[in-house]
Amino acid sequence: MSSETERSEVSKQASGETASSDAERSEASGSASDPASDPNVRETPAGKATGDRTDTLLQTDNLVKRFGGFTATDSVDFSVDEGELRCLIGPNGAGKSTLLKLIVGTLEPTAGHVYYDGQEITDMEPNERVQSGISMKFQVPSVYGDLSVRENARLPVQQLADGAERRRRVDEAIENAGLAGYEEVQASTLSHGQQQQLEIGMAASLDPDLLLLDEPVAGLSVDERTEIAERIRRLNREEGIAFIVIEHDTDFVGEIADSVTVLHRGDVFREGSIEEIESDPEVRRIYLGGEQ
């Protein structure tokens, strides 16, 4: 119960402090049903969005990905608003990671479209998508093991700043990852949790508008989970970064999410608040039947 009250506080603060979409945000988080599940918003590409209450940041339209005979995502219509913190859950093989890869462009869709910030990005190279404000942390922590923590942190930042400003941002990224004092340590010698923290810091230091995290707390201790949950909420609240987070742990999801999307067999199965999702007997059924 304590995590629920904490979460609603967070969403109140988020609606107050997110500069870009303050009015819409408070209305959105206040309303019972999530705007993304509103058919008007869902069915329309972002560029022509008729949803007048929110600014849709990302929208997928009929997104299909097949690997040979296997359909990983099947006509997914999915959208995320500016400044929203969305969690993506679903049994193994539901197509969560595939959807993220389609959004970020490391996979090409078999059919369908992706719209970001009002523009179609379906044919954009991944690095161009990153330049336009989408950033991603992969499932397996992939910091540059041979490089020092500082060199790792410099790599994304050097595109955005020079000189003293760059130093400040690098120090800040290291500090926020809880790695102050570890600057010259080779990244491969960090613990799993530290690598996750460093990588989230690197992805966030690109000043993205949308940050995709694939299982950011898998295999971490309770304390490390709490740290990362706080960090995600802070980035969302203070910098207005929208998130799509894939996570299995429903406690963690309950702690951070504004809203939850359940994927099942490659399509959106349910969307709503964590309470709605958790109490949904159908969701319980697919989890129990599908995985455990």
Binding site: P126, N127, R154, P156, L190, S191
Partner: protein
């Protein structure tokens, strides 16, 4: 006071230059290293007085080829067997142009054309590979095949139809008659870099080509140090370590690989130009399989992630190879490659540098009990 502040700015400038030359991507970031470096350069400069610069200049020229592979393979992770292609293209282009325009201006232009030609060849090959989605070991295979194709092609250019202007390509017999390297503008100022010794004021023997090669090697080495320690160098290393991850930080990985490959090609071509100019001759064996393998051996033994390693190993191995001569040397080199890949994959120079400076990574710090993330689940 005035002199104080002047020397302070001098120190400032010196520190700035050092700052650009030093970084985590090169070995030798200490005062001691630069002292040793200065001694080594002076020793190389004095070498022709005691030894023979005549053959040693060849090693300096080939060290440029070694550096080109270290840049492409060691720093951006593209294992290329094709450095000799650009080496050969550089040499042949230099030969063709200089034979047709055998005065100082023409020969200078030929040298530039050779370097540009090698760079363009690398850019073309690189474009089709990297933008065509060729990766990893397939790049190695394609560059290897390109080398073999060039070898076969150049070997069959014996006929008179393979004459460009005044310059016959010469098939397997090669292209003789390349003029001596004379740089400058004809009639204004020029200097002939002959490769044999000439007496300077009757005091000591002077070998102009040796000093040209030494100067170019020095400038290239220092220039590459600046490059690999720059922002671009950091991205190159990131591409080597994990290109997909690097793309996800917003970098155009294909473009970075193409730029590095092109630069590596131009550098190999510079080596080829000097090689052809030194020998006044070039022939198809520069595209031969055994010659294509040599840079890979130099760079593997010296340490591919080390520019210094590439230079030292090239000079040492070529010295050995040419003093032993014959097939035996190649057998020894092949065995050496195997031993190094198995026992010391990082190469000898980084290993020695690690021994000299103690453990490079303060791993002990990780055992700190207060370290974040060390708290156990309870």
């Amino acid at each position: 006071m005035a002199t104080d502040s002047a020397s302070a700015t001098d120190r400032g400038a010196l520190a700035r230059i050092r700052g650009r030359l030093e970084g985590p991507n090169t070995i030798g970031n200490s005062r001691g290293f630069w002292l040793g470096f200065a001694v080594a350069v002076l020793a190389l400069a004095a070498f022709p007085v005691v030894g023979s610069g005549e053959s040693f200049s060849l090693f300096l020229v080939l060290a440029l080829l070694g550096l080109s592979l270290s840049l492409v393979w060691g720093y951006s992770g593209v294992l290329s067997f094709g450095q000799v292609v650009f080496f050969g293209v550089g040499g042949y282009t230099f030969g063709v142009v200089s034979i047709n325009f055998p005065d100082a201006t023409g020969i200078t232009a030929a040298a530039i054309a050779g370097v540009v030609g090698g760079g363009v060849a690398a850019a073309l090959l690189g474009y089709f590979m990297f933008y065509g989605g060729v990766r990893d070991v397939y790049v190695t295979i394609i560059t290897l095949v390109t080398t073999m194709a060039m070898h076969t092609f150049m070997a069959q250019t014996a006929g008179s139809e393979w004459t460009i202007g005044e310059a016959p390509l010469g098939g397997f017999n090669g292209m003789p008659g390349i003029p001596l390297l004379e740089l400058g503008i004809e009639g204004v100022a020029s200097f002939q870099f002959v490769y044999n010794e000439m007496s300077l004021l009757g005091l000591f023997a002077f070998d102009p080509f040796y000093y040209l090669a030494l100067a170019l090697l020095l400038v290239t080495y220092l220039g590459l140090r600046v490059l690999v320690n720059s922002d671009f160098g950091r991205v190159m290393v990131a591409v080597r370590e994990d290109q997909d991850r690097t793309q996800m930080f917003g970098y155009d990985v294909k473009r970075i690989k193409l730029l590095t490959f092109t630069l590596g090609g131009a550098l190999a071509a510079l080596s080829g130009v000097l090689y052809a100019a030194r020998n006044v001759y070039i022939s198809p064996p520069v595209f031969a399989l055994w010659f294509a393998t040599l840079p890979v051996i130099w760079v593997s033994v010296g340490g591919r992630k080390s520019l210094l390693g590439a230079v030292i190993a090239t000079i040492a191995i070529e010295y050995f190879r040419l003093s032993v001569q014959g097939e035996m040397a190649l057998v020894v080199l092949g065995a050496m490659l195997l031993v190094f890949i198995l026992a010391l994959p990082g190469g000898i120079v980084p290993w020695v540098a690690g021994k000299l400076s103690g453990s490079a990574v303060p791993v002990s710090e990780l055992d700190d009990a207060d370290a974040p993330g060390e708290v156990s689940e309870s």
